[in-house]
Amino acid sequence: MNTAVRPIHSGQAPTDPVVAPDPHVLRAVLSNAAYFRYWRACAAMGPVFLAAFLICWGALGHNIPPIPADHTAAQMGEFFRTHYNEVRAGMAGAMLFGVLYLPWTLSITKVMEWINPRENNIVTTLQMWGGGLTVVPLVTSSVFWLTGSYRPDVLSDITLQMLYDQGWLLIDMFYAITTIPMVAIGVAGLADQRARPLFPRWACWYSIWAGISFLFELLMPFFKSGLFARQGWLNFWVEFLVWFIYILVITYYVFKAIPRLEQERAALLSKA
């Protein structure tokens, strides 16, 4: 096969510009096997995170749906005194699996580095940090619920209520750190010059929209009931489902991108 003639980037029409990434991205000294090692494993951490989070944080932690904000302190105290072992287990799991958002983010970053070598790496770096720092609200909010379940017999109802509230206020109101990578992925993906972009345009626009749609959470602290409260159909069900779908969609396209990049890189190296 004459690799000098066929298009370098998979999915590109013959007239598409051929642009190799910078040496520090290409890392020509590595074989393809070495270069792509761990990448798929990192990408797989997205769905693993999601499943584990749903089980631990969601089911065991009694967070799907959140306990309504208009429950009394007495009800919250009763909840912790009854369900403390489930919550301890759930939160221990959530704090463990929450960190998987980091390797998953890295797998996306690696794809973004290859999207358009003519762009600088600002958007890619923002995505890496934003996604990595998203671990913070995921894990730290869980520590509040964990604290409530640790010694519920001693703490007052009001304190227990405060701890449950605090976890939700953190996880809900820290959305902006996740908005950054979601918008970044979309913006970077839209700059793809390939005839068949690594991230399809609809996925880019969905990612941008999903990231910005978290802004409805701005209303969450103001309401204890109704659609804008933490348990509301909008600020819980819609917002979280939109985020879960985003995780699945992006994971899917990362897995699709990796073999294409393997081809591209192999062709670039054989041409060199």
């Binding site: 839209l190 005839a195 609809w202 880019c204 626009w205 929209w209 109704g226 159909w233 909008l234």
Partner: protein, 201 residues
């Protein structure tokens, strides 16, 4: 952003939407519209349980302001249509002119909205006053944030058309910005009657 736009380059092209490829911004727009539709249903459902309260509260809204707001947005919408038309014809000055006029007319919406809000707040009416006002502030507030985004888009496009060559790619961006602006208009077309006009006055 749009492969076809790039391929067409500086030919005076039919709008992107004509050639079978649509601006990806439509995904953003339809997603937003779906959520707003859910909010409409939420409002109408809540209204079912508190009809008298909702109608009473709705009667305190200033219909004239609402009408004026609608007229501002549709007129601003007309101007972006003309801006897109000029952009596809490669007429830079005309494009900028229509974008600017659109922005200036649109700014009127911001002014009237702030007047409306301050009038209500002065009367002590906030989003906690009752469920109708919660929806009133949340719906018009969310819409207002979209309006701000649209105004920023218009301004950015005005700058870009002034500084960059008005090729197919930039015309495509103007078209995308215009589509978003039409969404702002479209949402208000439904929000206004639903909040202001459904009850007896």
């Amino acid at each position: 952003m749009n492969d076809v736009a790039q391929a067409q380059g500086s030919e005076s092209a039919a709008p992107i939407i004509r050639s079978g490829q649509v601006p990806g911004v439509l995904v953003f727009i339809i997603a937003d519209m779906i959520v707003f539709c859910m909010l409409f249903v939420g409002f109408m459902t809540e209204r079912m349980g508190q009809t008298a309260l909702f109608d009473q509260s709705a009667a305190t809204l200033d219909v004239r302001m609402g009408v004026f707001n609608t007229l501002i947005l549709v007129t601003s919408g007309l101007c972006v249509v003309l801006a897109v038309h000029a952009a596809h014809a490669g007429r830079r000055e005309a494009t900028r002119r229509w974008l600017l006029v659109s922005f200036l007319i649109g700014a009127g919406f911001g002014v009237t909205k702030l007047l409306e809000y301050s009038a209500k707040i002065e009367l002590g009416i906030t989003m906690h006053t009752n469920d109708f006002y919660m929806f009133y502030y949340a719906l018009t507030g969310a819409h207002f944030l979209h309006f701000i985004g649209g105004m920023i888009a218009l301004a950015v496009l005005w700058f870009m058309v002034g500084r960059e060559p008005l090729d197919g790619r930039l015309a495509g961006l103007v078209e995308s910005g215009a589509l978003y602006w039409h969404m702002v208009d479209l949402l208000w077309i439904f929000i206004f009657p639903m909040l202001y006009l459904l009850g007896p006055r």
